[in-house]
Amino acid sequence: MKKKKAISLLLCTAMAAGVLSGFAGNEDTTASVEKNATETTKEGEKVLKFSISAEPETLDPGMNNYTNSSTVLQNLFMGLYQVGPDGALTNGCAESYTMSEDGLTYTFTLKDGLKWSDGSDLTAGDFEYAWKRALAPDTASPGAWYLYYIKNGEQYNSGEVSADEVGVKALDDKTLEVTLENPTSYFLDLTAVSVFFPVKQETVEAEEPWTKSGDTYVCNGAFKIEEINPQESYILVKNENYAYADDVKLDEVDLILIESAEAALSAFNAGEVDMIDTVSTQGLTQYAGSEELKSFDLIGTYYYDFNCSKEALSDARVRKALSMALDRETLLMAVNPSNPKPAYAFVPYGIPYGDTGEEYRDVVGDLITEDVEAAKELLAEAGYPNGEGFPTLTLITQNSQDKKDTAQVMQAMWKQNLGVNVEIVTYESKVYWDEQKAGNFDICYDGWTGDYPDPSTNLECFLASRNETQCRWSGELADQYNSLLLENRSLIDANERAANFEEAEKILMEEMPIIPLYYRNAQLLINTRVTGVIKSYIGHTLFKYGDIQE
């Protein structure tokens, strides 16, 4: 008996000690950050330590279709154009371009003296080679679809035509002619995407794989790879042959792999890293309102799909009522400490309205009014006064904490405001998308972040062909929406297109096959000594404009 008591006492002490040390760890945060600051400056070099949550999937831009690798590649390579320090598009390898009147042919003139990181010359031919390589059926690049905008790109990728018929041609070392399938007003934005980066033929076709070590890796961006330590770190150093090398302030960037967001936060607190880009809720709460925490708007929307093929939800009035009965600001306050903007329409901020120079969202304005009384009336009109007779809806979502929380708040609001009962079912993410595809839901979580700043990147989510697996929205207005968007694909006049997008979005919000909740944002937790690091509208972290203050 005595022995048993001793053991339980020991256990209690151990547990208490664990709890205490957990709290104690939090206190010496500021002290160690300062200590680290002196440590780095001593070396006289500006070294940025950046914690990444996952290894880049690939370091070959031609094979890239992923978020983590895009972040790294955006800093290692430079396309014809690039996202500038203010987040807007600026010149990259291209000095200038001309566009034919039908909007189909672009002729790019490259900058003088472009060089690869190994010192050899970079020519227009390298672009032609890179794009055709990414499209070649043998390459099987998952990102090839980005190049389908180029004439015969899709056909070449599926093996129907030869490489010669693809609409990209180097007229000479400095001139690149690109022919498109359809007029694409956002084509310049696309040239900043990693699949559009040039690659050096000799390097890529060398026998040894080129992306596995710093010695064989050749790129043309602000940084080059010095060292690759798999599952540990990537050491990038300044590329002296970069066309804008004078603007690069950092000497070295260490990408340190820390998978858990909590561990990354501890490393940041301890001053072991200067910057983390997957910030946990803990970090968001701890640094809320501080200078360290920076938020960037993405061109994406977090929303829920209605299953419009279900009887109760086939009535647009019911869908509108459910959307209007939510209080988005309260919802975000409760479950999302990153302070995103509530969505009262679908197209996010950061997208221009034609060529007016104004934001699309500001011009079109809000399209959803939150009004519980009006929502009740709509529901009553549809035959369900106070939610009577309305079936219990099944809401499916993924089992991550933030998604479960959001669902619970919506559930509570609907019950309180409309008397509508909702049952929540959560799935692991892979199973989730299958369930969504199969239509086993009344309401389901969804989200979309666009690829280029044009309303089509968002609004095309609800083309008839894509609705079949998501919100299952159909009918006359859905057809009208569909044809407006398809018509826009071949229009050149930017303002005419914008007007069409506006009309389409108004139809969408009138019919409400979805519930927009908020516009997505992304966070960076940065040491205050570090300046100039931004996130692009897609969410890629650009540290090539970064600097460390002494």
């Binding site: 048993k4 008591k5 339980s8 547990m15 957990g22 709290f23 939090n26 946990s280 809720t281 803990q282 709460t285 701890q286 209080d327 309260t330 306050m333 409760a334 479950v335 089992n399 991550s400 904490q401 479960k404 929380d405 669902a407 619970q408 708040v409 559930q411 509570a412 309180q416 049952e423 929540i424 079912v425 959560t426 692991e428 199973v431």
Partner: protein, 313 residues
């Protein structure tokens, strides 16, 4: 014959019919009060202070779990967006979570789920385990061989694997957690019962049963199993905390019960993101789990000491 001895039964003298004196009467009586096996166990159990504390804690916890959600002004899923993330106060004893839900009610509601899963899993496992182990042990031979190899195979498969499979097919709810747990939890009980029955079946009372013509089933149910009840109950008592832990673990992984229902595991999981900023959210459900598990373990310890006559001091 009687008459020959000269005793006239019709006319017995009063002398022969005197009542026994009190002293003579008491010689035949058992001086100690007769104590049944169970009464004896309870007596020994009562003396174990740790075990009694455990029992009282468990009873209090059960009563709280039953009555708090009924009488509290709050419900487990009632949100109050004007009172989010409040520290413990007179209004909310355990504070509120990020949706303004009362953590006291949620913890007690969690107790309902965690405790009922614990008891139900233990009861189901006891029935399956005792029958399986009993049959295997009593019949022996080839039947035993086959039944025990099946058990070996079941133990060989990692339980998390089919728990996740079951969750995928049946959805995440209390029933599927129970089914998932019942898939393997009975194995320990079954093995223990089998070895008990194995030793008991050769003993004389079992043989006697056979001699008077009882069927195998009757012998198993009426004689062998009741005789191994002591160790069965102890095993089962230890099953309850491990079932509660397992549920907490599954819910923690996100494959347990569905929101907004709460068990201790999901409460702890929800609180993890606020571990440093609002630690009370983790403290209460974690304390509830620890206290209950301790209580059950102490009860189990006490029962083992009380039920096993060989451990008698």
């Amino acid at each position: 014959m009687m008459e020959e001895k000269g005793i006239d039964l019709e006319n017995l003298s009063d002398e022969l019919l005197q009542p026994l004196s009190q002293e003579e009467r008491n010689t035949e009586e058992i001086s100690r009060e007769s104590v049944s096996y169970w009464k004896n166990c309870w007596r020994r159990f009562r003396k174990d202070k740790l075990a009694m504390t455990g029992l009282i804690i468990l009873i209090i916890m059960t009563l709280l779990a039953i009555f708090v959600p009924i009488f509290s002004p709050y419900t487990y899923d009632q949100t109050d967006f004007l009172a989010m993330l409040q520290w413990p106060s007179a209004k909310h004893w355990f504070g509120t979570d990020k949706m303004g839900r009362d953590i006291f009610v949620r913890t007690m509601y969690g107790a309902r789920i965690s405790l009922s899963i614990g008891f139900a899993a233990a009861a189901i496992n006891m029935v399956i385990g005792v029958l399986y182990g009993g049959i295997s042990g009593y019949l022996g031979g080839k039947v035993d061989l086959v039944m025990m190899r099946i058990v070996d195979i079941l133990t060989g498969v990692p339980s998390l694997l089919y728990i996740i499979l079951i969750m995928m097919f049946l959805g995440s709810n209390v029933q599927s957690i129970l089914i998932a747990m019942c898939m393997t939890y009975w194995i320990t009980t079954a093995r223990m019962v089998r070895s008990q029955i194995f030793t008991l079946r050769g003993q004389d009372f079992a043989l006697a049963g056979k001699v008077i013509g009882e069927t195998k089933w009757q012998i198993l149910i009426r004689h062998l199993i009741p005789n191994s009840m002591g160790s069965i109950i102890v095993t089962v008592t230890f099953l309850i905390p491990s079932a509660i832990f397992q549920e907490a673990f599954l819910s923690f992984l996100g494959i347990g019960i569905q929101v907004p229902m709460a068990s201790w595991g999901t409460l702890a999981n929800d609180a993890i993101e606020y571990l440093f900023t609002y630690p009370y959210q983790m403290l209460f459900p974690a304390a509830a789990i620890s206290i209950t598990i301790f209580a059950l373990n102490f009860i189990g310890d006490g029962l083992r000491d009380a039920l096993d006559p060989r451990l008698k001091k």
